[in-house]
Amino acid sequence: MKNRDLSFWLFLAPVLVAIFIVVIYPLLTGLYYSFTNWDGLRISKFVGFDNYIKLFHDKEFGDAFWFTIKFSIAAIIVINIIGLGLALIVTQHIKSSSFLRTVFFMPNLIGGLILGFIWQFIFTKAFASIGESMGIEGLQGWLSTTETGFWGLVILTSWQMAGYVMIIYIAYLQSVPEELIEAAQIDGANRLQRFRNITVPMIAPAFTVSLFLTLSNSFKMYDQNLSLTNGGPFNSTQMVAMDIVKTAFTENSMAYAQSKAMIFFVTVAAISLLQVYYNKKKEVEL
């Protein structure tokens, strides 16, 4: 790389400085804090790996982690199926497709906190009155148990994220060459075969991107969790991000929360990178 002279670094400098200030430096200080007993104001001693050891015996953190994993799996599957489905619908030659794209994307423009409150109303009020008038037991008492809280969160996130990943899928679906599909059609492949053997491999990069986005988003989710269930009932729908915030700001154990956050960061980064690496290998190039 010959062009990496001084001007190269000079042009890069503002970004590098910004990244250093807002990402690298806090990460390093965070790592340092996680080895202390910092309470937000004072550090009185260096505790080594105590915080990390304590963390492995912390049942609440374990529960939150397990819940987050379950939630992420469900959310990733649902979001991507719905997103791909919507993308397939709006790339058909139907009249209202651009209108539909707008409509499907719309939920993504609403902030997570507000969405949470809106859906809280839908689950506790609308669901209940529909259930009451139709006599469906299953629609009543939503968000009051762990299961309904879980599915409430999945529904909310899918509703919000599906439109977003739909856009990604649309972009790749539209770049699938017409002639490949036509050729397959002439060879006698039916709709399903064409989809499975041509469309899916051609849009593999879309899967990589969408899975990455949905994975990291659902792992890191906080605002929807806060406004929809606030961890209730009995903290059973509390996700890791929320557990960390609570440890830090209601229990004032900043250092301990920091060590949880480090573990969380490493996990999310590892899973996301693994996923990208694995999916990249499956992508085909024309």
Partner: protein, 427 residues
């Protein structure tokens, strides 16, 4: 090209100088004026408080009061810590009780020489008194109990004053429940188990306070909790849960107060005097004439849990003159005639100090609570002395599990005793 480079550097310099200018300290007031930075959390009375500060500025032209308000429990403390760590020290800030006092201990000024501290009612300084030093001045008093709808009680033929024991209360509740249709109510109670503070802070306190002699400092130092009145606590949870609008685990504060109680769909809610403004917004007539409050009965006695939710503290890291002025301002707010008037009429506080005319207290709930308080028929708020996070995340969350049938009462007691001991001993 060269020109661009120069202008680039110039703009970079300009930008960074702006940035640095933003960081420069603005503490130093111009001339002889003293600036009092007040950092407080009570959003509800922000405007009224600012008005009062203006009145003080007029009386004392050399003092300038700068008020910043950051609302909500957690956010406030977070921002306060941020302020401290960024070396921006407010002169006056709020502390919530023993936990905060310990955390911010090296910043708190002794206020025992203030007039306000001497006028404070018995017990209101418990939470902030350490080694004879008074480290905070109470905002106000608050109380909670069963708030009931007088009209519904009257129609059902129930006299609220007689409900001083669990048995009497239960009888009345059953009577109300039987007449649900005629009274046009959905249920007797609206019991918001979702709000962990309602069960974790308030309800539990009624039955735990006696273990600590009603003193928050005793609770703060106690290594364990015994639940000696656990059976009564269970009875009260069961009663409210059984006769409440269901499902209680998703019933929140706004449904409880704004919807169910204000629209007269339930007869009783367990809340405090702070709901008055909300009810008043929804239905002024109901708020003015038809609501009353009775204590939650314990041991067949009717004692109102009254406490101080927050304190004013003066920062000792500011200049001595500023600290002196801060004390003067707080004294003026609670002991001068202008201040007293504002406290009662504008802030609508239940005063925590002597020398107030109780007939001027604005709302009926506060008035009743002040009367219990004046008669000494009160229970202290010891929940402010529980281990950090115990009330809500441990007890409140366990109650949710209990009413869902995921945990038995015995398990709940065992788990919460252990949690208390664990947090206290630092595990």
């Amino acid at each position: 090209m060269k020109l661009k480079k120069v202008s680039g550097i110039a703009s970079a310099v300009l930008a960074s100088s702006l940035f640095l200018a933003g960081c420069s300290s603005s503490d130093k007031a111009s001339g002889d004026q003293i600036t009092l930075d007040v950092f407080q959390f009570k959003v509800e009375f922000k405007n009224q408080f600012e008005e009062l500060a203006k009145a003080y500025e007029e009386e004392n032209p050399d003092v300038k009061i700068k008020i910043s308000t950051v609302g909500g429990g957690n956010d406030y403390k977070q921002s306060l810590i941020t302020k401290f760590t960024s070396k921006e020290e407010p002169a006056i800030f709020n502390v919530g009780g023993p936990t905060d006092v310990e955390q911010f201990g090296d910043r708190l000024t002794d206020l025992s020489d203030t007039k306000a501290a001497k006028a404070a009612l018995d017990g209101t300084l418990d939470g902030v008194t350490i080694d004879g030093k008074v480290l905070g001045l109470p905002f106000n008093q608050e109380g909670y109990g069963f708030i009931y709808n007088k009209r519904i009680f009257k129609e059902a033929g129930i006299n609220a004053e007689e409900l001083t024991s669990y048995e009497a209360l239960k009888e009345a509740v059953e009577k109300l429940d039987a007449k649900k249709k005629d009274l046009k109510i959905k249920a007797v109670f609206a019991f918001p188990v979702k709000e962990k503070w309602v069960t974790g802070n308030h309800l539990s306190n009624v039955f735990l306070a006696s273990e600590f002699d009603g003193n928050v400092m005793t609770a703060y130092e106690s290594p364990t909790v015994a639940f000696t009145k656990g059976d009564q606590l269970k009875q009260m949870i069961d009663l409210q849960n059984e006769f409440s609008v269901q499902p209680t685990t998703s019933l929140d504060y706004s449904q409880q107060v704004e919807e169910l109680f204000s629209l007269e769909q339930v007869a009783i809610i367990q809340q405090g005097n702070w709901v008055y403004n909300t009810v008043n917004d929804m239905d002024p007539e109901l708020a003015e004439k038809n609501i009353g409050i009775i204590p939650i009965p314990v041991d067949g006695e009717a004692k109102m849990p009254v406490g101080v939710p927050n304190y004013w503290a003066v920062n000792n890291k500011v200049d001595d003159e500023v600290a002196k002025e801060a004390k003067k301002f707080l004294d003026w707010m609670y002991t001068s005639d202008t201040g007293k008037e504002a406290v009662l009429k504008d802030f609508k506080f239940i005063p925590a100090y002597e020398g107030y005319d109780s007939s001027k207290i604005a709302d009926p709930l506060s008035k009743e609570i002040y009367e219990y308080s004046a008669d000494g028929k009160t229970i202290g708020w010891t929940f402010q002395g529980s281990p950090v996070g115990w009330n809500e995340d441990q007890f409140g969350a366990s109650v949710q599990a209990y009413v869902l049938g995921e945990m038995t009462w015995d398990e709940l007691i065992q788990k919460n005793i252990k949690a208390w001991e664990d947090i206290r001993s630092g595990n």
